[in-house]
Symmetry: C2
Subunit: 365 residues, 2 copies
């Protein structure tokens, strides 16, 4: 049997609380189903800085490289607002993405039927929404050099970041988007700002070529990223798969998540290229929400995004499609029963805490 | 009497149709009120490329520099999708912004009461919405160098754009935001991505210093730009003035515009620094919507954003506050009467074309 080594990096804020529910689930699956998950743990973010002075230690980084999959909670909080840029909590996540070469970030924005009414958008605009944002995750302005602040003298400084994309990076991320579209509604929308950015011109060109050469059966549209943001708000159901760069993907996927009325519910997967020999992809699974320091430690955080990230992990890293489907159904069933954490609570529903929500999902699983 | 020289650059697509309504209004004001506007016209965008091979000619650029204010329609369309990057329609607008040093882009997102129901957001989320996005317009990734595509050989290219901000640029745009906040609800939210961008670190630092040194009476919040986009969708009324950079401002202002359910209604002003001697600011006024080639030439475009841009022009360039107020009230009155162009039409309302809408506003003015 193939190994199922998981590294759990719970991180800061509500990360550990949400991760605790996944740990219970893993134990239950090992006990009752003999699923054979082996877990190890490490530190990332502010807690790693407190322990080691770095946002992730080399030892934990080595564990992540060796694991079959990493489950990641969330990082950051006001406690670390003043730490040096190089060791800020986010640096741990960025190092994981970069060193593991997790270039493909999959962010589904799904509107759970039970929650359609709780979106700030009209119910008919979001009901049944199911889009997938494929965000490039190891390139662009996040990692391009030069990236620095220069002292110009006279009280003037200059802040510089560099957006860089090479052909092969655009090719491989659009390949992922086209492949996934084939398993869905067969429609990809590529977003960039080719009207002001040279990287956008190249993006548009390479996506078009990749489509022509290998995926001509998939419907492809191009949209300027600003117009894309507007269209997401106006009528999101026009989209199936959206493929875009690191920074636009950051903005657009958060907006898409918010449309669903349930940012506390949405998982993500970050995947590397398949290994030439083993065909296995390095992978990290992470809720879209952040560390939410304002509610951490109160037992009220919504663990669903973290649990749903574990479902994605089973699906993409271990081919456990049945179990992933069952876990996603368990989440939907618990919502149908009216159970709600505070962030998604509405009149007539039953408010529960983090552990109760986790227990209820496990019970339905 | 101070001069009132206007340069009209109608541009492409629905630009000329919308501009025609403003021309009628200007004639009426000159005839009946002796307003004394003197207009000249020029070409920008695709039509300028067709005529001169450039997105704006040096002669028209000189006219823009000399005018008291520029009214701008819209540029671009599929006809020019394949023209070289340097002369694409948008290059005309970008040259105007850069050469006139229009660093401050003011984009009000206002929800007209008559249209609150037509937003894709729930009525209570957007009703009464009145936020102002102050976008830096002459810096950042739009203009930073290097900006190029390099051929790396082996079929590989590299697309590069550079995000650059200097202290003085952040200082002056935040000064504009704080000043405007004082005339409103006295609250500024600054948005950047300091957790991944060095320019964001500098942005945050300079806004904080400017606030402390000169505007401590204004409430200041900082938000990461991705979280800001989410909050705009979740509960936009939490904002008063948002100040942000060129690229984030592009994305966020379009999203804010879409919230109001009426992108065809929203104007913008782009202002330079006050001249040391005359105190006059160079200025360009422009609807937020684009050239909408799909509906151009059909007489159905909504001229309200263009007319409202002229109201901003009267307010900011000529101190004609009474006339600006009256024009904005005329727009609201026509909507209250149930008149709608197709883009904002809803059951029970009266659908009208571009000229009818323009005439109705002039009649109420
Ligand atoms: C925490 C931060 C560095 C990160 C990003 O900007 O990528 C987050 O916003 C995300 O979207 O995963
Ligand atoms: C036309 C384009 C260059 C422009 C921009 O990106 O600034 C437009 O989207 C805007 O927001 O004014």
């Amino acid at each position: 049997m193939a190994s199922k080594n998981l590294l759990l990096l719970a991180g800061d804020g509500i990360g550990p609380e949400a991760m605790a529910e996944v740990k219970k689930l893993i134990s239950a699956m090992n006990d009752k189903l003999g699923s054979g998950f082996v877990t190890d743990e490490g530190l990332v973010g502010g807690c790693a800085y407190d322990a080691h002075g770095a946002a992730i230690s080399d030892a934990d980084m080595a564990k992540a490289m060796a694991a079959d999959a990493v489950l990641f909670g969330a990082v950051g909080g006001p406690k670390w607002d003043a730490v040096p840029y190089e060791v800020r909590p986010e640096a741990g996540l960025l190092r994981l993405r970069k060193d593991m070469e997790l270039f493909a970030n999959l962010r589904p924005a799904i509107c759970y039927p039970a929650l359609a009414a709780s979106s700030s958008l009209k119910q008919d605009v979001v009901e049944g929404l199911d889009i997938l944002i494929v965000r490039e995750l190891t390139g662009g302005v996040y990692f391009g050099e030069p990236k620095q602040i220069i002292d110009l003298g006279n009280g003037q400084k200059r802040g510089i970041d560099t957006q860089v994309y090479d052909t092969f990076e655009i090719e491989r991320i659009s390949g992922v988007a086209f492949e996934l579209a084939r398993t869905r509604k067969n429609h990809v929308t590529s977003m960039e700002k080719r009207n002001v950015m040279k990287s956008g011109v190249l993006w548009n060109e390479v996506v078009t070529q990749t489509h022509k050469a290998r995926y001509a059966d998939v419907k492809l549209d191009h949209m300027l990223a600003d117009a894309g943001g507007m269209q997401l708000v106006r009528w999101p159901k026009q989209f199936d798969v959206i493929v875009t760069d690191n920074l636009f993907g950051d903005m657009l996927s958060d907006i898409a998540a918010m449309l669903t009325g349930s940012i506390g519910m949405l998982p993500s997967a970050s995947l590397g290229a398949p290994d030439a020999k083993t065909k296995k992809r390095k992978a990290l699974y992470e809720p879209v929400h952040g560390s939410a320091p304002d509610i951490s430690g109160k037992g009220i955080a919504n663990p669903i995004a973290m649990v749903a990230s574990f479902a994605m992990c089973m699906r993409y890293s271990f081919g456990m499609v049945t179990e992933a489907d069952r876990l996603e159904s368990a989440i939907a069933a618990v919502l149908d029963d009216g159970l709600r954490t505070r962030d998604i609570h509405s009149p007539g529903m039953t408010e529960v805490g983090t552990t109760e929500m986790g227990d209820a999902i496990i019970a339905k699983f």
